[in-house]
Symmetry: C2
Subunit: 245 residues, 2 copies
Amino acid sequence: MERAQDVLIRNLGEHTELAQEDIAEIRALTFTLRDFDPNEDFIRQGDEPEHSALVVSGMVARYHLLGSGRRQYLAFHLTGDLPDAQGLFIDQMDHGLSALGPATVAFIPHRELFVAFRRRPNFGLAVWRETLLDAAIFREAITNNSARSMQTRMAHLFCELFYRARAAQLVRGNRCPVPISLGQLGETLGMAIATVNRTLADLRRSGAMDLREGELVVLKWRELQRLGDFSPAYLHLKRQSSPRA
Amino acid sequence: MERAQDVLIRNLGEHTELAQEDIAEIRALTFTLRDFDPNEDFIRQGDEPEHSALVVSGMVARYHLLGSGRRQYLAFHLTGDLPDAQGLFIDQMDHGLSALGPATVAFIPHRELFVAFRRRPNFGLAVWRETLLDAAIFREAITNNSARSMQTRMAHLFCELFYRARAAQLVRGNRCPVPISLGQLGETLGMAIATVNRTLADLRRSGAMDLREGELVVLKWRELQRLGDFSPAYLHLKRQSSPRA
DNA sequence: CGCCTACTTGACTTACTTCAAAAACAGTGG
DNA sequence: CCACTGTTTTTGAAGTAAGTCAAGTAGGCG
């Protein structure tokens, strides 16, 4: 497995030019690794964390818990993401984080990050930009869950996950890990589990994709993209070509 | 009308301790004021802006335009908000901005902002925090539009608008300006206009609120809050008490 | 083997959308 | 001031997509 430091440097480097001094500053941070089981929480709504998380491997989810007990998934994070940079500035977590499949997460003390931001403002700006990319993904989720049909909505989610997985170099051939249950898919897309199942069956039948054994398989990228009304501009990924197939 | 500089200083001051030097730095920035008519666009999807906007008065909206021509509103901004701080770091706008009612917006050159961030890192952190509060509002919108009933959804939106208007000192008595049409409400909450009308009629009938002549009137705050399943923690506003009534 | 969880499928119900038309309202020009 | 136009709001009736409920199957694990 890649070292946590390298994962972070690579991810920030995707969108920000890092100087040698920035990289040295990142390498000097303290990374504490922890492994999590599927569906294990590691930050809860209401917590006041003093560390920031970095996804080193696996997939991580952010979610709201409603009064009714219902859970709403807000975003998924892959290797290299900083899923709770919010926590740096915000008193109390307004949402929780959990591992989706088995995951490894590195924790970095806020205190050290603030010192590093002061010494290398460019590093701070890179993390800031990272949080803005996050926000763009949230915006797209609003639109996806509010304005699109169930099928389009689901196809769009798969497009996004595949596209981001590709950028994080997690795609092997035409597949990438997506360890998510139908129930969780429903709590992401705002649909009942029966509908999730039927909609997914339709997508499979279209021949554009499959989802099995925790893996997303993209068989016809262009077709899936069409079904999902997906255009990747909002992900603001530089120098990435379209997936094949 | 309050000066643009003061509006910004007051808003950032709500959540961040600003030193005299920070304030001086903000006052030295160039603010270019422009007035907009209702529904006039001032940043379009695809633009590459070189200025950041600050809402000086009125209400401003952010929206996605879909392939189908449908419009999805993403967020509303009140006096003091920086509705496109994203633009500071992101190549191309993935969404547009328009005035909702008549609005005054100040524009600040990115170049000057970056210089100010470098000279007063604390100012940069304050704006960063502002963008994170924004993201929290996006997250809540995902949950609202995905996991709540139509009535709850609409009540929640009104709660949020009223609560934020109060923080921005826009509430007079029990009312605040909300210059939005039923159609736009539908494009915000993901419902058909007929449903908007019927749902709004139900809310009016409950006696908790009214919406007329571009003003939101809150008659029973606690009741509206209950109907909207609203808890303001996600807004991360310090030192604000609950509205009366 | 038996238990638990996740997935699948069918039948039924209901929320919401769509369509359509009328009423209220705002703005424009005579 | 009023007629004319266009837009927004309101209401009704009909159609449909998705939710709910319930039962059954398949897969994973002690």
